[in-house]
Every structure is written in C-alpha cells, then in structure tokens.
C-alpha cells in the first residue's frame, strides 16, 4: 500500500469514528493528521467524488423521533418487477430496497410518522398488479444497528 493510500484510509477511519462536533472540524482533524486543513478538505472532496464517502452528517434516531418503520418482503412476479420497483422507489419513506434470491424476492424498509400511514401504503401496494404476497415485519427489538465499518 502506498503512503497516499495509507493516508486516505487513515482519513476515512477518522471521519467515520472521530468526527468532532465543533465549529471548525476539519481544522481539528488536520492537526491530528499533521496536514493542512485545505489539503485535508481537498482529499475528502476526492474521496467523496470516488464514492468512498457517501455523506458527512448526522444519523438521527428514528425511534427517538417517534418514527415507525417496517421491513416489507414482497413476492413479485418477474414480469412486473420493473413497474413495481419504480412504484416503491417513488416513496421517500423507502430508503433501502433490494432484490434477493428467494420466493419473497423484493425487500424494502418503509418508515413514516404514523402506523396508519404505513398501513395505507401496504393496502395500496397489495392491490398492484404482480404483487403475489406481502409480509410486513416491524421490529420488536433492536439488538444492533448501523455499526461502523472496520477496515
């Protein structure tokens, strides 16, 4: 691994785990990394452009903010997948949506401020062409969520 790659990794780790809540976070981090603030910002810009950093900001607690969410597994016919995916993805309530290798082939999360809103969505969704069956699986307990990547 080159010196430059090592530095990039170090920056990614520190951005993920030790991002300071302070007025000038990059100045503080650049001191830690023993580099110029401008240099650090330019490097982060590059890491973002290359897709390594998706976003820098806060992950809010959905439950603390009173949001309800559910995991939906759907059995969807092959021929209707495209149209149904477009429908599902058109909702901002959906943040993750995957095709999986099972009879229930499409899995996505749906969150809303009320259970009623989730129920209304499911009712409409079930009636769509190509939807064979739908499972709605709200979580009863969270054991682990969104841990940081170790690398």
């Amino acid at each position: 691994m080159s010196q430059k790659q090592k530095l990039s990794l170090k920056i990614l780790k520190i951005l993920q785990s030790e991002f300071p809540i302070t007025k000038n976070p990059y100045q503080m981090l650049s001191d830690k990394l023993d580099m110029d603030e401008e240099e650090l910002i330019a490097e982060i810009k590059r890491l973002k452009k290359q897709g390594y950093v998706r976003r820098i900001g806060a992950a809010a607690s959905a439950s603390r903010l009173g949001y309800k969410s559910t995991l939906i597994g759907a059995k969807i016919t092959e021929g209707s997948i495209r149209a149904n995916i477009a429908f599902i993805n058109s909702y901002d309530n959906v943040t993750h949506n995957y095709l999986r290798d099972a009879q229930y082939n499409v899995w996505f999360t749906f969150s809303a401020k009320t259970k009623k809103e989730i129920g209304q969505f499911i009712k409409i969704f079930k009636k769509r062409r190509g939807i064979v069956n739908v499972l709605s699986l709200p979580s009863k307990k969270t054991f682990k969520i969104n841990a940081e990547f170790r690398f």
């Binding site: 100045q27 910002i41 976003r55 900001g57 806060a58 439950s63 949506n97 999986r100 979580s139």
Partner: protein
C-alpha cells in the same frame, strides 16, 4: 412512546445536519446565519441533541464497497422466544453483522430474527453464518443474498 420535545431551532438544526454538511472549514456558518445565532451555539445544540439521543451517530457514512464488502446477505432465523436475548447478544458482537433485529414471524414465514451480514464474497458470508449458527446452536435459518440494489439512501427524518 418517546415524547419529542424540540424547539424550532433544534428541529431546523436536526433537519439540516441529516443532509450532507457543506465541505468547508466552517460547515455550520450558513445555517447559523439563517437561524440568526452564532456558530458556537449551533455546535452546542448539536452536541446536546446527541447527548439526548436524537442523533445516533455523527460523522462520515462510508460505502460498503470501500472495504471490499461486496457480498451482502439478510440471514433470517427461527429462534425460540426464550433464547432471543442470548442469541441477540452473541450476534451483536459479531463483526460481520451490521444490523440485528427481533421481528414478528408470520404463518408462512417462520422467521423472527434478522441479521445483515457483510463479507468480501458469498462463500465467506456463508461460512460466517454457519459459524454463528454453530455458536448459537440454531439451525433454522435462511440466507437471502442481495442480487441487486434498487435503492439505498440515507434516511432523513424530518422534524
């Protein structure tokens, strides 16, 4: 249910920081100006929001591909109710598992325990899951590998 007791300013700050912060020396300057408060105050409020549990984590969100984690599996388990806590504890400690939930099972879907497993390859994922199943002494599970990602965005919970 948790009561949400946030002031208008706190709400605006929380909405703002759930986006991608401006990549510059003073990421909060525009927000401070808009709210007509000092940057120092914005930072204080963010720290308090974190302390009060409204913010789970703060920092960079990295891409799975970065660490070469290209195989992603949702492994669903059928765990007897009385063993949930024990298995939940074991799975939470597992490095390869990012998310772990107890959910209700359904008549034609007997799985009540959900783990997201990430590894470099599909076979590595399978190996990890087999090891977990041995460790937990549970063999009722099903692996659902990701074939395609249709959507993956950071959730924004507007307040």
């Amino acid at each position: 249910m948790a009561k949400i007791m946030l002031s208008a300013k706190e709400k605006q700050i929380l909405n703002f920081i759930q986006g991608d912060l401006p990549l510059k020396s003073s990421p909060y300057s525009s927000l401070a100006k808009k709210l007509n408060i000092e940057e120092k105050k914005v930072v204080e409020i963010i720290a308090l929001l974190k302390e009060r549990g409204y913010i789970r984590r703060f920092g960079a969100l990295l891409s799975h591909d970065l660490v070469g984690l290209r195989a992603n599996c949702m492994c669903v388990w059928n765990i007897p109710e009385e063993r949930i806590e024990e298995v939940g504890k074991i799975c939470s400690k597992e490095k390869a598992i990012s998310h772990c939930y107890l959910r209700a099972s359904k008549p034609d879907w007997p799985y009540n325990f959900y783990t997201m497993v990430h590894a470099k390859t599909k076979s590595e994922c399978k190996k990890i899951i087999t090891e977990i199943s041995k460790k937990c002494e549970v063999d009722g599970f099903k692996m659902l590998f990701t074939l395609k990602k249709f959507k993956k965005t950071s959730p924004t919970y507007r307040v």
